[in-house]
């Protein structure tokens, strides 16, 4: 029982990181914290892939004529390199959006922003303030 629990130690870590990340994304109202959560969430997936590829006592997959060695699967590492690049791009785009939101709204708290949006929406649409139109010819 104990050995099987500890034997899948890595998966426990993956599981915990995944849930922490997902909770931050869903539960936090701060836009920056959401991105932190997203990054943790993605990192847990990287660990998951690497764990798949690892074999006990496995060496790096280098061609060696002398010994017939067991080697770890290199493919998950390569896939994760790609996924890391994608993750970096996502984080960069997210952070630049947060920066822009901060300059436009003066806040990155979801509640403040939706309150501001609601006022704009009401002015624009419900009251029909803008019925006075200028036409472009």
């Amino acid at each position: 029982m104990i050995s099987s629990t500890i034997g899948i130690w890595n998966y426990w870590i993956v599981f915990c990181l995944m849930m922490i990340g997902l909770f931050l994304v869903i539960g936090r109202k701060n836009f920056l914290k959401k991105i932190v959560g997203l990054t943790i969430f993605q990192t847990s997936v990287f660990l998951l892939y690497i764990t798949f590829g690892k074999i006990k006592g496995g060496t790096p997959p280098i061609l060696n004529e002398s010994i017939e060695s067991i080697y770890s699967n290199p493919l998950p590492h390569v896939l994760i390199l790609t996924a890391i690049v994608v993750g970096v791009a996502t984080t960069a785009l997210g952070l630049s959006l947060v920066l822009k939101i901060n300059t436009e709204y003066g806040s990155i708290e979801e509640d403040d922003i939706s309150a501001q949006d609601l006022v704009d929406y009401h002015d624009d649409i419900e009251t029909g303030k803008n019925v006075d139109l200028k036409f472009k010819q």
Binding site: L38, F52, A89, T90, G94, N130, V131, L133, F135, Q137
Partner: protein
Amino acid sequence: MIDILIKNLPILVVLCPLITSLFVVLIPNIFFSWVLTTLSTFLTFLFSILLYQEIQIKSHISYALGKWMPPIGIEYIIDRVAIIPIIIISGISFFATIFAYKIMPEEIEKKSISKVYSLWLLAIAGLLGLVTTGDTFNLFVFLEISSLASVALVAMGAQKDKQALVAAYNYLIIGAVGATLYVIGVGLLYGITGTLNMEDLTNRISDLNNNKALIAGFGFMIIGIMVKAAVFPLHIWLPRAYAYAPSAVSVLLAATATKASLYILARILFSVFENSEDLINNTLLYVILPLSIIAMFAGTIMAIYEKDIKRLLAHSSVAQIGYITLAFAIGTKASIAAGFIHMFNHAIIKGGLFIAITSLGFFIQKRVTINNLSGLGRAMPITFFCFVLCSLSLAGLPLTAGFISKLYLIKATISSDAIWIAILILISSALSVVYLWKMIEVMWIREGKKILIKEKPTIYISLIIITFFNIYFGLDASLVVNGSFEAAEKLIGDLK
């Protein structure tokens, strides 16, 4: 020369927009960057038509990327199923690019226009890659290319309305979580089968009945794709993203973005996992069918109460996606064919409606809401006429493309003894008339300023072409219907 071109068509369709996107960003001039973008999208459209002809002869093209043979290397698969979304995406993006010429400089400052065109091409390349690839991990990369590019495109709407930033942010976060869920699924499947190639995966899955990791992997993949396809209740990002994006971007995204993901959904359900029938049947019956029915009504009712027209159309998109997934959920050959028919028709209908609304917005220089549409129908007769025709097509009146898809959908539900679903479809279509009539009434009957706006041919030319398609495919739908039935046959075989 021609031989080489024909042989490499599957990769050219993706590479053409991808490579031009790198060059477009270097051109500072608005006009020339637009010309290059148009040229690129036109070439892509041409390639996909050539590919269509090729598929009529061969019915299945497998392209080994870099001569690395599948299943080791990355494989691009074009068959009678994949060709439908390829034609939709390349065709609509060509017309949307023509339309973008006048609209784009209105909403985006001049110095960033060439960058926007670059992102525009990148999004198209991502979507086309999504549908051509036969490798599950490659699919994830294209998923992220298309969604990151579309997020940046949506955020460009901030120069007109700052809410675009929040819309883009939500789209990014929800989309990234969806894509990561998809990768977890791929990882689990790779862990138990040791392959990433879709066809190879299908063969290896058949030995693993009721493996827990298989079921979990399938679940993760499906949920990830459903987020991207905006299947109810994972559609939260969609209305805002479409509403606050720059108008030309709304046209492109509304008509193409979800179609690619819906195709992937169909492919995973009916092709990759075709050997685990219990799993698929349960998913269709207990997950996708109820969600689709809720989506049909929720989307329509939200649209009825919405006052911002672009948001209204986005809510209506959610309902229409519901029809498509409903067709998949019934799971017979006829219904899947109906799903593909509606996928094509919805692309031309929504493309047309968004172009019409955007043209109105271009002339009134404001957000298009129900209040400031008064009397605009009389002021802009050509745009209004096309708008009405597309609306009728959406509602499903005879002689329009929308009628054909509703007809086949209802025929399919009745032939699989699900009369109550047919009735629900009819009720929801009837409800959609409410919001369409609301707009038409305001535009035509309510008194507005007496003014005749000079409409510009550069703006309405693509609207007229798309409206023409709406009518043409309503009168003679044989092309779409035959293609869709062939696709459905290819997907589920003669089994059902």
